[in-house]
Amino acid sequence: MDYLLTLGVLISIFVILSTSYNLVIGYGGLSTVAHPIFFAIGAYTAGLLSIHTTIPPPVNVLIGAAAAMVASVLLAASSLRVSGDYLLIASLGFQLGLLQLIKNLDFTGGPGGLGAIPGTFTGPLRAPIYLAIAGGLAILTVLAIRSIVQGPYGRAITAMRDEELAFTALGRNAMSLKIVIFAIGCGFAGIAGGVYAYYFQYISPDQFEVLQSAAILTMVVLGGMGTVYGPVVGAVLLLAIPQAITFLNLPSSVMAPMQGILFTLLVLLFLFLRPAGILGGSAKVRL
């Protein structure tokens, strides 16, 4: 039972990550691979604060999100001035560099990771409580991002992605729009990080490697990039289905590679059947 609850928490965290990544890359058209490091900034900030201070956990999670936002604004404001392509390169450098720093600092626990993060809740209800919190935050994230991409603000995002030059020449500030979208997306990644740190009570640098962005991107693309609920579907499917075969009682030497194969097969299958994503409508792919 605890296993399923943990899977539920993990799915909720990845719904926050994929939905926020979709805002940045799918709606905003901003190429970045640094989403895992903003996830890490949230996790490490909340983790370290909970170890060293008595600040209440929700505030720690918010401080982690704020730290991720501040870092994202610095990254976006400096690189977007050069060009959109530069953000991709800068985000890669930022992701690799900061993770390297985390691995080499003492107070972050170095490559061994940061353990003994206070778990806040104890007892048999711990996992259900966390599932309620993470699930609630995932729903809030989806609702918040839905309200951002619809209405007057969403119109501006769409217009900017369609024709940035014409958009700017109408008096719209494309640069600040991009920075805000990036900051909001990265802030949500920071919240996901805080929840992750509190639930698992242990974080290590390899959970935030650059390859995580490929996994999150797969969820976004598979579910339907630039759709509100696509990333939710992608995150649920890609996390739940490979786990489902654990009930077959296969030996672990077979299980692990099977899960990898199943993940890959799912991706290939859906990309053939639904090239614009499961919720992506007709084959109108925009990358």
Partner: protein, 252 residues
């Protein structure tokens, strides 16, 4: 007539290519100025310099007497420089109405804080923009296209939507880049009528156009450009009558 736009000693070159060579030009309120010349003369570049797509190497640009040369593109639009594009650059995944709704001079919807916390103000601005968009489309006889996707409209109507979007900006200066290229029939008449109305309402209008009869019907004054230089500035009749310019333009 008051001067809306004044350009003084404007220079711009790309490597060896001069697109603006010491240009002096004024456009007054209520005036429709035609800008003609061969391809590569620097007409669109001049629009790009005025609207802020390009930065000049030297020289001044003044809108109602205020220097705008250091202002970024989006800021000049907010000050009232409205323009269209030769290739329209409409927002292709949006409806006609949405294309116009995004285009007022000040758009409160681009501030996330105001969208989140000043809902009343945003709603009022949206209603106002909707009303303005409807009245512009009505003037152009396009009121029934309002909910269509812009890409579903015929080319001539897309050109008109490009103009309608620019007209959402109620500023003093309107720059039209080849509004008639590829446009025939009813859209041609509409374009003429609407541009004339805008000038009568007090806007300064500048039109880059190869269609000489459109210029002759519409413009009180015209400027001939070649190689980034203004070669002649006068009435349209004078320009057309000038044998030297005809040779430059038509190569005969």
């Amino acid at each position: 007539m008051t001067t809306v736009l004044r350009i003084a000693k404007l220079n711009k070159r790309f490597g060896g290519i001069v697109v603006a060579d010491n240009i002096d030009l004024t456009i007054a309120s209520g005036e429709v100025l035609g800008l003609i010349g061969p391809n590569g003369a620097g007409k669109t570049s001049l629009f790009n310099l005025i609207s802020g797509v390009l930065r000049p190497d030297s020289g001044g640009i003044y809108l109602n007497g205020v220097s705008i040369v250091g202002r970024p593109l989006f800021h000049r639009a907010r000050l009232g420089v409205a323009r269209t594009w030769q290739h329209m650059l409409l927002f292709r995944s949006m409806s006609v109405m949405e294309n116009l709704m995004i285009a007022p001079r000040i758009y409160v919807g681009e501030s996330i804080l105001r969208v989140a916390f000043a809902r009343g103000a945003v709603r009022a601005a949206e209603a106002e923009a909707h009303e303005r968009a409807e009245s512009i489309l009505l003037r152009m006889g396009l009121a029934d296209t309002l909910h269509l996707m812009v890409t579903d409209l015929p080319f001539g109507q897309q050109k008109l939507i490009g103009l309608a979007r620019a007209l959402m900006n109620d500023g003093p200066l309107l720059l039209l880049d080849e509004p008639m290229a590829g446009v025939e029939g009813a859209a041609y008449e509409t374009m003429q009528r609407v541009v004339r109305q805008e000038a009568e309402a007090g806007r300064a209008v500048c039109v880059v156009e190869h269609n000489v009869s459109f210029i002759r019907d519409l413009c009180s004054r015209a400027v001939f450009m070649a190689n980034g230089k203004i070669l002649q500035d006068g009435s349209v009749e004078e320009l057309i009558a000038s044998a030297a310019l005809t040779e430059l333009y038509f190569g005969v």
